[in-house]
Symmetry: C2
Amino acid sequence: MNHVEFFKALSNKTRLQILNLLKEPEKHFPPQEKGAYDAGVCVGHIQQKVGLTQSTISEYLSLLQRTGLITATRVGQWTYYKRNEEAFQKLAEIIQKEL
Amino acid sequence: MNHVEFFKALSNKTRLQILNLLKEPEKHFPPQEKGAYDAGVCVGHIQQKVGLTQSTISEYLSLLQRTGLITATRVGQWTYYKRNEEAFQKLAEIIQKEL
DNA sequence: CAAAGATATCGATAATTCTCGATATGTAAA
DNA sequence: TTTACATATCGAGAATTATCGATATCTTTG
């Protein structure tokens, strides 16, 4: 992927907020069954927290996923999203070495 | 500064190209007097290399400077721009720790 | 299979960004 | 101080992005 796409994905207040919320799910979202956020957080919970429309949040999550910054796991009718820390690490390296 | 501004600055192919060109000035620009690029590269040389309008390049350089990613030094009628490596380092850290 | 809930996609409008040409400003040399 | 060059700023149109409401799709349950 072209680097520009990474930065475009990060060029939005709301998307940065989402990434930040996903950093510590226990801290920001209602508890899951079995208390584990292994698969991530579902769209609805993120939407409630952020406050924008469901469609906007869904699009943003999808965009972030396309860049690889988060991953999606469909479980039943829910899609759980969580951060892909490796991608952040890689991005930090890009900035240090390639930019 | 808000992190979004960093990423906005980097969300453009041309601006990334400029930053990249400034990484190794000797490699991309005509030699300076005394062969040193200490102060950076002047707007005109960058403009010729990139190919967009003078006004566009000037604006982009000014924008990048506002974010702190490059610095400007006026010498006579020339403004020399060069990378601020510290800012890139800091940005890499932001991605690792704060994002 | 019909209904309900969760998410995804579509179409539209407003806001922002990209890029340009024209012009203004700043600086050095004649 | 006039001229010429280098850079900066302004105003505008085209392209892209942000965000919404409406609707479509997918999944579970009755």
